[in-house]
Symmetry: C2
């Protein structure tokens, strides 16, 4: 065999293509229906003026011999590493040095690539439901055994649902890599300080490494929910953290992210910081200069205020969706520190049956929870990434529909 | 072991850091010396006006609700895939469909990631000397055995030097993946149509896959040198091609590239086009929209003319360097269809000894050939990526120095 046969093991993900196909068929049958899309995880508001200004200025630099920037440092420009160290960590009293921060082109790439640092036999644990990239990137590397139609034989699933209050349980078997995400995708739930302390203790005891995804941290309100795993003592010896500008500042089309690999994090005598630097230097040529200048602008006074206003806008949508569900007797999680609202489908419907009812009877598109893992079966995700007007109309339609189903 | 132990096998690359260190020391000792840098492989001319205009326009789109672009298609926007199909392939009479073209963020990433499609036991062949990313990305994946201080035990080297006219010989043992680059880095030499036909025949006979890197194709002048491996009949069943905007249009800091994976390329019953789409969809979120619009502008009438003028500018520098060497009796290759000039160091000096002589006696910085592989020992690379004025001054200094050495 010349090809990587692990690719053939991965089931085709029909989730979003199947969603698109069902919506297409519906719109063909009912061309006058006003379909409201609350399915996607992509932002809809334009880039903030401070970001736009920084982009134009950086583009102008690239037009001059003096200002031209060619290859940049693979780990990112110092100006952005420093801005993140101060703006994301210093600001919450956490000490992360600029050379522990690596600039990437998105948390999708970073979270897919980080597994390269680990042995092909390392045992992986993920929450269930989960962001599919953690699973598929490890499957491609041959770390998950085979897929039995519902589960990977070599993957440890940490089921999260209302039975355990969406708190991922510690693994029953020994594991070496643990993916955690807070606020979580798709459930929108958060891990408390006590939860994180338990996980850090577990990792310190067992030698496991935690990959902590904070892509949605800008949605956290108040001071009770940790914004970084490094708020927990000793986490710098057990955890890598992945952050993103995608949802914070609407960078889904602009592409910028960061990874924190603490210098105190070593395994088998090797520095994971040095390994990640080596990996990025060998296989990546840095995020575009103009994009790094745009990301830097997020930390300016104007930038902060503008991106916060967008986050608040989405959060207001999210709260309305959750309140509407709960008023109709459908208990839901998320939507407080997250753009996602997650709930069990009414009357024990399965994810796809509810998808069809919602589309046909209320012309609302959501995301079937089963697409995020076996424990997602019978659940559903609605997202706040739409206009306030569309969200209000969706809430009105939901308020009419749900009482007929519950 | 929890970590990927293959990382530990890779020798630290001291090449460019050692170059920088020696230059730093020299400049400290001789602060008045005017050091001319002909070492780097990075462009120096600013982005073309057509590219700058497209960037500003795309940034403005991102500032409006109607024009905002979030997540794009992972394989790239249709407008750019079509522009490349027409501008790079249709223009030379080669039929490549837009859905065989995948937009990336640089040939470094693409050429480092493409090996993921292949078995961990696939045998790899590279020319020697070679662009180090091909080697290191396979070393990280555990495909090359161990490093014996000079060579990888499990890698097939195809030596290229004046003895064989820089034509890579067919492998003596069976191999499954072959990296070829024309015009080549670091040697600047090109493969002829007959050379490529031989390789395509070899691959068709043995089932090997050729990874053909055309990052420097914009430097080809005239019609004798193939600009794409798909100019050779049957190559679409054996070859993947990697292209880049870095050197063509000065995108080293902007980051955009493409990969062609023909639909006719299958191995072990699998479509490599489908596998690469799966890989990119799972582990990459696309090149920034604004950068793809900038790349599209390279194919506008103004864009073509402007980037060609920059390439011509560098080519003129390259020709001057080569002519200067040859007038002094140092035979050299490259510099015709390439920004690089490659030669054996005068009087049998080794790469680093000549580096020191050149720096101390002519204040010129070049790149020691030994950094590109064992057959690069005793060789040297000079690059055309500097101003015409600096290149002329370097040529004058070389013309004085070389006769004292030859």
């Amino acid at each position: 065999m010349i090809i990587n046969t692990h690719f053939g093991e991965i089931p085709q993900s029909y989730l979003f293509s199947e969603v698109a196909e069902r919506v297409r068929r519906f719109e063909q049958q009912q061309p006058d229906a006003r379909v409201l899309r609350l399915g996607i995880g992509d932002v809809t508001r334009p880039l903030a003026p401070a970001v736009i200004g920084a982009l134009h200025a950086a583009v102008d630099e690239q037009a001059t011999t003096e200002g031209f920037q060619g290859y940049g440092p693979e780990a990112g420009y110092e100006f952005l590493r420093e801005a993140i160290a101060a703006g994301e960590y210093g600001s919450i009293g956490v000490d992360v040095a600029p050379d522990e921060i690596f600039i990437g082109d998105g948390s999708k790439s970073d979270s897919a690539n980080i597994q390269e640092l680990f042995s092909e036999t390392a045992r992986v644990a993920v929450t269930d439901p989960v962001y599919p990239v953690y699973v598929d990137s490890n499957a491609m590397a041959g770390r998950l055994g085979s897929f039995d139609g519902e589960r990977w034989t070599g993957l440890t699933y940490l089921p999260c649902d209302d039975a355990n209050g969406y708190r991922p349980p510690l693994p029953a078997e020994p594991v070496e890599l643990i993916y955690l995400c807070s606020p979580g995708n798709p459930t929108g739930t958060t891990m408390s300080r006590a939860d994180l302390e338990e996980w850090v203790q577990y990792a310190r005891r067992t030698g496991a490494v935690i990959l902590f995804d904070v892509a949605y941290r800008a949605f956290i309100t108040g001071d009770d929910v940790p914004r970084s795993i490094y708020e927990i003592e000793g986490a710098d010896e057990v955890a890598i953290e992945l952050g993103s500008f995608s949802k914070t500042a609407g960078f889904t089309g602009l592409r910028c992210s960061w990874t924190v690999v603490p210098k105190n994090l070593t395994r088998d005598g090797a520095s994971l910081n040095a390994m990640w630097l080596r990996r990025q230097s060998t296989k990546f040529n840095g995020t575009p200069y103009i994009v790094q200048r745009a990301a830097e602008a997020v930390y300016s006074a104007d930038g902060r205020e503008q991106v916060q206003a967008d986050v608040d806008y989405y959060l207001q949508n999210a709260r309305l969706i959750r309140a509407t569900l709960e008023q109709a007797g459908v208990s839901a999680v998320g939507g407080e520190h997250s753009p996602y609202v997650w709930f069990r489908c009414p009357s024990g419907m399965d994810s796809w049956a509810f998808f069809d009812v919602l589309l046909e009877q209320a012309q609302i598109v959501g995301t079937p929870g089963v697409g995020f893992g076996p424990t997602g079966a019978g659940h559903f995700r609605l997202s706040a990434f739409n206009t306030a007007e569309a969200t209000r109309e969706a809430a009105e339609r939901l308020a009419k529909l749900l009482p007929t189903l519950v």
